[in-house]
């Protein structure tokens, strides 16, 4: 089981605290998360399945948003953090 943490902005649409889910990839993890919390749909990913511009997904502390992205496998992983980058003005 994976421990999934969302930042305070995403918690407005999803779980208020830590969520425990099972998944073998970031894509399947997001599928499961959106299935359980439908208001999260299209907030983290757009409808093509890509992560939105300012979303960062950390797999055991490593940011995979700009590398393997949603295709990142989750074998032996314990913690997922889904956060927003510092942006705007």
């Amino acid at each position: 089981m994976l421990d999934v943490h969302l930042d305070s902005w995403l918690r407005e649409f999803g779980p208020r605290g830590k969520e425990r889910l099972e998944a073998d990839s970031v894509e399947h993890l997001l599928d499961a998360l959106e299935e359980k919390y439908p208001r999260l749909r299209f907030k983290i990913r757009d409808e093509t399945g890509r992560l939105r511009r300012y979303v960062r997904v950390f797999v055991d502390g490593e940011d995979v948003s700009g590398t393997t992205g949603v295709e990142t496998p989750l074998v032996g992983v314990q913690t997922i953090d889904i956060l927003h980058s510092i942006a705007g003005g």
Partner: protein, 378 residues
Amino acid sequence: MAEREKFRILVGTRKGTYIVEGDTGRRRWKIGPVAHEGAEIYHVVADPRNPGTLFAAVNSDFWGPMLQRSRNWGKTWQEVSTPLTPVKKDRQPLFNDADPTTPVPRPLRNLWRIEPGHASEPDTVYLGADPHLLFRSTDLGQSWVPIPAINEHPARKGWSPGAGGACLHTILIDPREPKRIYLGLSAVGTFRSEDGGTSFRPTNKGVLAPFLPDKHPETGQCVHHVVQDARDPDTFYRQDHGGMYVTHDRMERWTRIGKPLGDDFGFGVASPRAAPGRAYFVRLDGMARVTGDGHFQVHEWNDAKRTWRKLVRPGAFPGHYGVQREGIATDDLDPAGIYVGTTTGQLFVSPDAGRNWQLVPFQFPGIHSVSLGNPPAG
């Protein structure tokens, strides 16, 4: 103040939605409620068929686009269904995948225009979005149906975005005939449907495309905004990248009217109900995209006399102001109120058809859109 006496300006900004409340004197204003803090609000509109109902086009690089609706004049808002480009998994692709020349579908980027439907269709709402998409709802936004005549138009692979994106930003319904629909698409031009959106035909004859090798193509003109005349629904006023125009025949042929002004570039245009045959434009420098004369100015077009008139005493408001496509609005009172929001957050108001001007005493974030809530009949 009794609800029916309240007068509201709906302001969409770079950082949220502002409801500005006043009375029909249009000289004293109260700011608030404020909503959608931090989001880009490209359009806020009141539904005249359902008093108290507002829609907001809420755009965010964090969340993506969201359509939000209020049932209480903006005190509280709820996210209602936002249409999506159906390109993932179980949904059919929006574009024709069988055609290898079809561009890769892009996700819905920004919502640009919310247009309540005809008075005879009280639950119908139209939505224009980037990339050049049109949707219709028949349940006040709870669900959306894409309009294939635009969203799968055979020529759309040649459609390019303008600087603001591939916006479908203008939707106009003929008040006499709900099946007659007019559209404006950035860098594509205007279209008309006579069959409720089953088919659309381009309507750009006479409009210059200075940025293309063919200066008068069937499509490719970069229309910025179009409004309909209040008395004659066959007459429209158009601010285009290629100048200011009028048509009197349902957009069959456009006539350029802005040449006497010199540079007739701009984004917004409005036409008041109390003064049919008049249209208000804010002329901008074509390169700098701000008022090039060094002060705020609104030009009034008198369509009967075919003359122009400046409405603001030159120098009254010195500065370089930018005004966007939804940045000019008029109310339904007589004399008409004129409202102009700027990209630097000033909101100019004239309560008397341009004779006098004042600034709403509040510094807004950069303003994308200005419209009127529950304007009492003039």
